[in-house]
Symmetry: C2
Subunit: 300 residues, 2 copies
């Protein structure tokens, strides 16, 4: 099957980037879009994020081959329920949510008899809203597709081809394993970043102004991801609770071991860890998932 | 007093950048340099990091107005002891170390009667060694000068003028307060980054290859600072132990509160924190300590 008409529901960073990327990389696809916020719809129309911004969810999905839900994972069930009566026969419903077990459950429960193939493009920035999207967000990034066991293989292939056309690299993964992998590569890093930025802004003996002035010592790297969309991230933690708590437990064990090494003056334990972690960085750069420029090109 | 002859001891990222920055921004200054490693000295001479690379510590400091120690904080006492007999009268000795109470103690103990004015330019990259330095490392970054109470005010002024000439902004601070501020803006972020990268590479149920592939979800931001020099960072944690343990205690309290909020499904507590942390990010960008480009210009 080929995908000719795509409906994008939710026109923030991800939805907007899907629309702009379709326009640039697959201009034969007709795109429609909807967002629950009239202000977002107006801005989306102004930026041309999709071919046609519709005033109703029903109107946006009416003729689609593929519906992509680009809303926080806590909103998936409600949107799926609302659009269910309006979906055309043969449609594929997918999403871009950061946790996948809850999305598989929510969408299959709300859409009995509909072909549901959840996915997660591992790409983003700390920006959000209809002004944040751009056409190259998915270039050279991985898109993880997490079909339920009963998914139609042709639909999985069609969705893979769609994401590949937008520049993404494709991986098929079990939803449960996805949630564990993303807990460590994305959810725990965000939780830690949000927390340390909160800790730093609540101190009495160090002022907020000092924290900001001397942030180039390392802290600023954490503030970028701690500026991400609060609603989206609240939902991720509530919907991937068990994997997040499992990985958080392992991290705090390791942090406690480092604390003990500092307290006891065990320089060898510190050095051994610090030496090991450089190898991971090198691999990330070699595989094109980050840039080797020192300091991420911060103005020099 | 004016500073005309500068000796740079240790020719890695920081030492090399001081030399190159002098050459570009204060070409009237004569620079000499020394490094304990013959290989580093050869590379430093090849890159022209300083005007003259000397084969001995004594030779490098013999005619200096200002000696800058650019070695790990754990090596300060030994280097100071070794150079003490060779220092000319009237010299100022400073450093670029990331912890300051231990440096004030080590240098004043090893150099009785010598003018010691420690400092910390809050600038760096994850690179290290004689190939890592560049002339603009200190541009628009803060340099914190931490004179002991008995320091000569004219020497503090001369050192301030020197760093200002290299493009840095100057702050005078008590060494103890410096160590508390940097514990939160630099040392704890590094410790957390080293730890989470270690945790991620030790998992059995998620492979290292998966961690690397999906690092664009947030993890890669941590790997940058976790690639920093292991010796330098081991020494920072051993020499700023009490402030690091104090700040680590506050962070783990806050992280435990987040863990409890996730476990109990308290979405409001999560949202409240995530909303607050965006303001800090905005201030850092407004004050020129980071770049607002989405994703730090990672290739789009």
């Amino acid at each position: 099957m080929s995908i000719d008409r795509v409906a994008i529901i939710g026109l923030g960073l991800l939805g907007g980037s899907v629309g702009l990327s379709c326009h640039e990389h697959a201009p034969q696809i007709v795109t429609t879009g909807y967002d629950a916020s009239p202000a977002v719809r107006a801005r989306a129309a102004g930026r041309g994020l999709v071919g046609k911004v519709c005033d109703t969810l029903a109107g946006a999905v009416a003729n689609a081959d593929l519906v992509i839900l680009c809303v926080p994972v806590g909103a998936m069930a409600g949107v799926a329920h609302d659009m269910a009566p309006h979906l055309p026969a043969g449609v594929i419903v997918t999403d871009v949510g950061s946790s996948k077990q809850s999305v598989v459950e929510d969408l299959t429960a709300a859409l009995p008899g509909v072909s549901v193939v959840p996915a997660h493009p591992v790409a983003g920035t700390e920006q959000s809203g209809p002004d944040a999207g751009f056409a190259t967000l998915f270039a050279n990034r991985w898109c993880i597709i997490t079909p339920p066991e009963w998914a139609n293989p042709q639909h999985v292939d069609a969705l893979s081809a769609f994401w590949a056309a937008l520049g993404a690299r494709i991986e098929i993964m079990d939803p449960q394993h996805h949630d564990l992998v993303l807990a460590v590569t994305s959810h725990i890093p965000h939780l830690i970043a949000f927390t340390i930025v909160g800790t730093a802004s609540d101190l009495e003996d160090v002022t907020r102004s000092e924290v900001i002035k001397y942030s180039a010592g390392g802290f600023r790297d954490f503030t970028r991801i701690a500026a991400s969309d609060p609603t989206m991230w609240r939902d991720v933690f509530l919907h991937n609770k068990s994997a997040v708590l499992e990985m958080l437990g392992r991290f705090t064990e390791d942090l406690t071991a480092m604390q003990r090494a500092i307290r006891s003056g065990d320089g060898d334990a510190l050095f051994d860890l610090f030496e090991r972690t450089r190898a991971i960085r090198r691999s990330i750069i070699e595989q094109g998932q980050d840039d080797a420029k020192p300091d991420f090109g911060r103005g020099h």
